[in-house]
């Protein structure tokens, strides 16, 4: 009895050692920021602004966590985000109906994801190739539809604005939505049949098939989920900015991949961490603002980001080997 107890006790720290490592790293980065510019980092303002901007990155990073856990990759989600938000903006502008706009936005995201999944799972084209093409296709489509022009939408002051990106005691609502989505996806990945199937497909696709997992449906499902989350992120960004830009989502791809890898999800499939991605999104999503606020030249951003990504991934890999 005592022996088994010891084992589980040990394995708790063992199991989450990657996440503890990441938290220590984040603590050190924060400490460095506080030391270099206490007047910014000892006040709450900057943290609230982080809470407003990180959810966009985080929501998409959650989707990518499923995709990487399944042993696949998606390069198309930033474009999907732009197309979905475009649909939201146009439908909302012409109807003024939130639900119609929301439906069009999410449906577009799911449709793009489903198409990705179908081509990958049914025809067998590698996901990196399919989604690379899709990234261009969808970006081109939203440019064609919008004629390359930005769209201003009057969202401020509406009830949906209040609900989605309003403030609750200074806390931006999108941070609460992000928390809710994270918790839901946590249970979906670790406690639901679908999530289990995603990880088994990522681990050993043939074995999953032999045990009765419908691999085609799992892939279509995961890519659809990614599409839906990209659409949601697009909607949040639209509400935050009030304007749709044809370049929406540009620059997110590398950041979000970095957030997921820093969080501790490997790219070999079969293993994924929602909590890690949650932390990773905060780390990657706050770094640039932090470095600039700390008074360093913008040039330092990439250098330090690169340094942190590489050290985080080395730590994860070493810890995984020990397990």
């Amino acid at each position: 009895m005592t022996r088994t107890k010891e084992r589980t006790k040990q394995s708790f720290f063992f199991k989450y050692s990657s996440q503890f490592g990441l938290m220590i790293m984040m603590g050190l980065v924060l400490l460095a920021f506080i030391i270099t510019s206490p007047n910014v980092f000892l006040k709450s303002g900057i943290y609230f602004s982080f809470l407003a901007s990180v959810p966009t990155i985080g929501i998409m990073a959650m989707g990518l966590t499923f995709i990487l856990g399944m042993g696949e990759i998606d390069l198309s989600f930033p474009s999907t985000m732009a197309l979905s938000a475009f649909l939201f903006a146009t439908v909302y502008r012409s109807t003024g109906n939130f639900f119609l706009a929301f439906l069009a936005c999410i449906a577009a995201g799911i449709l793009v994801g489903m198409t990705n999944g179908l081509i990958i799972a049914k025809i067998g084209v590698p996901s990196i190739v399919v989604t690379l093409g899709m990234q261009y296709l969808i970006r081109g489509l939203s440019n064609l539809l919008s004629d390359g022009l930005a769209i201003v939408v009057r969202l401020r002051g509406t009830l949906s604005h209040q609900i989605l990106v309003g403030r609750f005691y200074n806390i931006p609502h999108q941070a609460l939505w992000y928390l809710g989505i994270t918790i839901f996806l946590f249970f979906l990945l670790y406690r639901h049949k679908f999530g289990e199937h995603v990880l088994f497909v990522g681990d050993n696709q043939e074995a999953a098939r032999m045990m009765g997992v419908n691999v085609v449906w799992v892939k279509i499902g995961a890519f659809s989920l990614m599409g839906a989350l990209a659409a949601m992120a697009g909607m949040f960004d639209l509400y935050r900015m009030g304007t749709w830009w044809p370049t929406m989502g540009d620059g997110y791809l590398m950041m979000i991949m970095a957030a997921v890898f820093v969080g501790g999800t490997s790219m070999f499939g079969g293993q994924a961490t929602i909590f890690g991605t949650f932390l990773g999104a905060f780390m990657i999503g706050t770094l640039e603002a932090g470095i600039v606020a700390a008074g360093l030249k913008g040039f330092w951003t990439r250098f330090i980001t690169g340094l942190l990504i590489i050290s985080a991934v080395i730590i994860h890999t070493l810890l995984r080997k020990r397990k």
Binding site: F187, L199, M210, G270
Partner: protein
């Protein structure tokens, strides 16, 4: 179709690209019958049983399970599970980075109505399976161990216990004893006898005829995708069967 047979296959063909793995196989599995399925490497044994268990479809021919006609495109692993067919695949079909309890219940999770897994119950059952069916004596292994930390024999034990646990009408074992210690082999053979005792059927694929012989009612040998001979146990001795199979391989070499 009027029949007591669990499986009836008529003139089954299956190709993988240019490779003709099966060319016109007639095969049936009777009620409460243990079949020893024999043949050289690459003969098509695994392909044949994978068609029955829903992993592969077939190109030509007819298949009936419990008298019900099976359409090759519709038959899936899930379908085979539902019809009471349980398989231990040659590849073992385990995912290394996942926990033991997840591997045991994959595809047949205990869930609530919304599809959320009842983790505690699955772990409890897995512990029971480990105690009663696997009888693991290894030190570290528990229900939440990752499969990659298990030895080869232990993994095989997991795959076999999984088949034992889900009570079924037909158990298919594709080379379940490769690499097992004598004691473990005996456990597998006892399992086959227990299946027979319970009135169920079994297909047993193995290259060691000495293991297959005492537990089988009937032997079926296939060679390069075709059925070459078939004997009831009472019609042939172990030595004769051995000679027959050696003759077959010789004929192939010439």
């Amino acid at each position: 179709m009027e029949t007591n047979n669990i499986v009836d296959m008529k003139n089954i063909h299956k190709s993988f690209g240019g490779v003709k793995a099966l060319r016109g196989i007639d095969f049936h599995i009777g009620p409460n019958e243990v079949i020893g399925l024999l043949g050289d490497n690459g003969a098509g044994k695994s392909t044949l049983i994978k068609i029955i268990s829903g992993v592969h479809s077939f190109d030509e021919g007819e298949m009936y399970i419990k008298g019900k006609k099976i359409s090759p495109k519709r038959h899936t692993v899930r379908n085979a599970h539902k019809m009471g067919i349980e398989t231990v695949f040659q590849e073992k079909a385990l995912a290394e980075k996942q926990q033991l309890w997840r591997n045991i219940f994959l595809g047949r999770q205990m869930t609530n109505k919304l599809g959320f897994i009842k983790v505690r119950e699955e772990i409890k059952e897995t512990n029971k399976i480990m105690r009663e069916l696997m009888k693991f004596r290894g030190i570290g292994a528990g229900a939440d161990s990752y499969v990659r930390t298990l030895s080869g024999g232990e993994r095989q034990g997991v795959a076999i216990s999984r088949a034992m646990y889900f009570d079924s009408d037909l158990v298919i074992l594709d080379e379940p004893t490769v690499g097992l210690s004598l004691q473990e082999v005996k456990k597998v053979l006892d399992f086959i006898l227990a299946v027979k005792e319970r009135g169920k059927s079994c297909v047993y694929i193995s290259h060691s005829i000495a293991d297959v012989y005492p537990v089988s009612d009937r032997f079926v040998a296939i060679d390069r995708g075709e059925m070459v001979c078939e004997y009831r146990r009472e019609d042939i001795s172990l030595e004769e069967l051995n000679e027959k199979l050696i003759e077959l391989t010789k004929a192939k070499v010439l």
